[in-house]
Symmetry: C2
Subunit: 97 residues, 2 copies
């Protein structure tokens, strides 16, 4: 769990996640254009996200495709929620359904 959270604990990677989900095009280049970071840096962040299991990677020829693993991301969220609940079961945070 700490590993997943560590992957999320960087502003650039959160931006990358948003970008990945916002656009149908999920190439590394796409992210680089929007993020004002060097291509190597973005590639590195993507690698971290993939290794954390939060992003899936498909090598479509040389056009690499990255996609958010929604289930995994939701899983992290659920884990965190579980931690919150285990820490303070009597505390009921408002949930917006």
């Amino acid at each position: 769990m700490a590993l997943r959270l560590a992957a999320l604990s960087h502003p650039a990677r959160i931006e990358i996640l948003k970008r990945l989900s916002a656009s149908a095009c999920c190439s590394c280049r796409e992210v680089v254009d929007h993020l004002d970071l060097a291509q190597s840096t973005v590639s590195q962040h993507l690698k971290i996200l993939v290794e954390a299991g939060l992003v899936r990677f498909e090598a479509d020829r040389q056009r690499s495709r990255y996609a958010v693993d929604h289930a995994a991301l939701a899983g992290v969220s659920a884990s965190l929620t579980e931690l919150v609940n285990s820490c303070c079961p009597s505390f009921s945070p408002k949930r917006h359904d």
Copy 2:
């Protein structure tokens, strides 16, 4: 948000959070006894958690008191949930109530 998640992205700090919430006694010493880490290290982790706003600190004489800020913790969880939702609004993770 990344800051909060960074504070959570360390196994020791997660353990500390659990310990803080499990016990009514929230002294630094208490945590040290249960965590097999040096006192200075625990104090450092506590400081990080406090700076992240996840733990509240009350200097009760020399007996320092640490307590989980349930609302803040729930807030992080909510933020993450929000991120998940914004990333994939059509995706409905199973919630176990």
